[in-house]
Symmetry: C2
């Protein structure tokens, strides 16, 4: 069911410093910051040859990553995103297997403009998993 690893998302306490570090110290292809007000984050995309890293920084008062940064002030890996062909079929399979889908189970439009779902970390070895329909 799951296909490519679309991205790994890292919450960071200083977006400019993290972007500069990936660009200069690690020599990666780092894009400009992009505000995503609907998702409460500013994002920097890092393009690797086979996948992407997304640096996340809180935007606005109700950012979904503020709590994560409060618990992890140095930052950390926030989630990983797997691609699926049919997000409703994926959701139904997960629910039938007893996994919990966050937010009521209806896909939302994610930061890439495509339908996404998030799965409960406690059901998946402490990892927050995003599924994105491609």
């Amino acid at each position: 069911m799951i296909g490519r690893l679309n991205h790994v998302a890292i919450a960071v306490p200083d977006l400019d410093a993290a972007a500069a570090q990936y660009r200069t110290t690690l020599g990666a292809d780092v894009g400009p910051p992009q505000d995503e007000p609907d998702h409460g984050v500013t994002v920097v995309f890092i393009t690797l040859p086979n996948t992407k890293i997304e640096l996340l920084y809180p935007l606005g008062a109700d950012s979904p990553i503020q709590g994560f940064l409060d618990k992890n002030p140095s930052g950390g890996i926030h989630h990983m995103c797997f691609e699926v062909e049919d997000i409703l079929a994926a959701r139904d399979r997960l629910l039938a297997e007893g996994a919990r889908v966050l937010g009521g189970g209806d896909p939302k439009i994610g930061a890439h403009g495509k339908p996404v779902l998030f799965l409960h970390p406690k059901d998946f070895n402490g990892c927050l998993i995003e599924l994105e329909q491609i």
Copy 2:
């Protein structure tokens, strides 16, 4: 400098359950468990179309991931591994930029039989980064 994302490694409290979950619930291509006594882990490789997930479980009394599981009993993302062409050149660039290389800075032979280095998580937004020479 960094190339492909070689793998994301997830420390898990129950290797059989995690492997079964990726195989059955998430429908991924999941290999058999492989003991890596030199590295203190049993590993299950999950092959995605563009990269790998590695499930890690402690092996032996001095496993390097036991402390992580003690702190994170549900498991969690332990590290991510980027490929580099020349690990000594990568190390020298990192040291020149002020980043800390764990374990004295000499590459070791990793679980894939190739030279690896680990970078200090406090220097990289709380993320443990492995570099592997390909």
